[in-house]
Assembly symmetry: C2
Homo-oligomer: 296 residues x 2
Amino acid sequence: MTEQLPPDVIAQLKAMGSAITPELAQSSWALLTPFHEKIGYTAPRIDRDLRYGDHPRHRLDVHSEGGTQAGAPVFLFVHGGGFVRGDKHDPGTPRYDLVGAWAVRHGWVGVTMTYRLAPEHTWPSGAQDVAGAVAWIRENITGYGGDRKKIVVAGNSAGAVHLASFVTGQGGGSLAGVAGAALLSGIYQLRPPAVGEPEHAYYGPDPDPAASTLPGLLDCPVPLLFSVAERDPEFFQRAAAAVVSGWLDRHGTVPDLVWVEGHNHMSTIASLGIDEAALGTALARFIERHTQGADA
Amino acid sequence: MTEQLPPDVIAQLKAMGSAITPELAQSSWALLTPFHEKIGYTAPRIDRDLRYGDHPRHRLDVHSEGGTQAGAPVFLFVHGGGFVRGDKHDPGTPRYDLVGAWAVRHGWVGVTMTYRLAPEHTWPSGAQDVAGAVAWIRENITGYGGDRKKIVVAGNSAGAVHLASFVTGQGGGSLAGVAGAALLSGIYQLRPPAVGEPEHAYYGPDPDPAASTLPGLLDCPVPLLFSVAERDPEFFQRAAAAVVSGWLDRHGTVPDLVWVEGHNHMSTIASLGIDEAALGTALARFIERHTQGADA
């Protein structure tokens, strides 16, 4: 059977509500960290703080079997944090080594990255940094057992915004080798952001209309998966529904959308490995599907 | 790992296209039946053709461990067939004993039912028959190891239409004990059906506007799961998108929607047991979630 969280843990998650607050982050991770400690959240080998650019935040970690892999799919993760915070690695916690461990457990190479933050760095710096990390992977990942033509990228929250921005070409850079993009609890249409809203620091008060990624996503050459958590705030629910509506108009079909049962904005990425039926099963299927074949 | 079909099998499914034809049914089942034969599609005990009403089509099969179960969730399946054909059991094939076997493998009691067919029997006869089968379950399932308070019903295609009709009260009958309803590739809004379209025989040329279930589903007291197959025809894609849009307007959230990767209108239900990551993992989670607890 697929690894799942006990019903009482899901009930506790649901009871936390949906508002994105430091308390929600703290309580979600406090609840789920013991499950990650139990299964282990570090891959056999982690090469840390490799530089993909000149800025101090241009760093990534590579998670691998430690030499036994070759030609494996590569799973790159772009963290969230409201454009102004977050890191690939919070020492002593599963954030986000767990994502690398999950990738390696599936037989892939995992990569976790940081990127420049607002307000110092604004749109489209996030897209440029994802492009930079992908370029680094293309040039270097063979040495870690990965296949440079089988890169799947996932972004969570602000990370999904940066990833959407990258795959729609806002930051420049090549999509070569990018076999799929998983956009987890992101936003794809911009309103004029009010002071205090997360987008404000990154986009400024009057965003360029071209910063909305939804039109580009509907014609994106990269296969896409979207997810929304059962307990994501309404703004993210509306973003997911807008993707469905836009996709139907453009393609006559529903997009690959995962409804993450029982989880909230913070716990979605924490479900990987410990609650696979929520997101991991569908995400792994997406990754496998788009990296299979001799010349995927 | 979750049971999955090999990539070349999914590729063959996708190559079949989406049009609902006898050939699609034949080729889909021809492709997938060997996988069901390999894992087995008959539960340890099957009690066949139990009568839940007076009509010859008022029959159901109960699939169980054969005496070792008690207080188990009950999973009732309502087949498809364009309102005019189909059966709970096509001897010598996995249709639809596989659904009962899947239920029993998860520790539940499975029930597969037939219902009266159009054009002899029209709206809302299907809803009445689902209500009749559920009433039979409430009265009798304890003797088979099931819990009368933990009934989850799934309907596929026309079966989803009948199930939606039942849970929105169109056919009368009690919802007592119905803990969840899974609507697989259904339609929930009616247009005036043209001659030759599947709905025509069941609804007639000028359906009662009250026959559209979408408004009722948005306020349904029963938890709902919806699914749409990647290769469902556009009409079903539009139905799923309309559910998302309506749900957002009513609840401010996205509904529990499963996008069934790689499958078509015929193969979705055939994925149970042999390709769990497509639908079964999410459907099983839905069933477990809504039948857990002392007095679910």
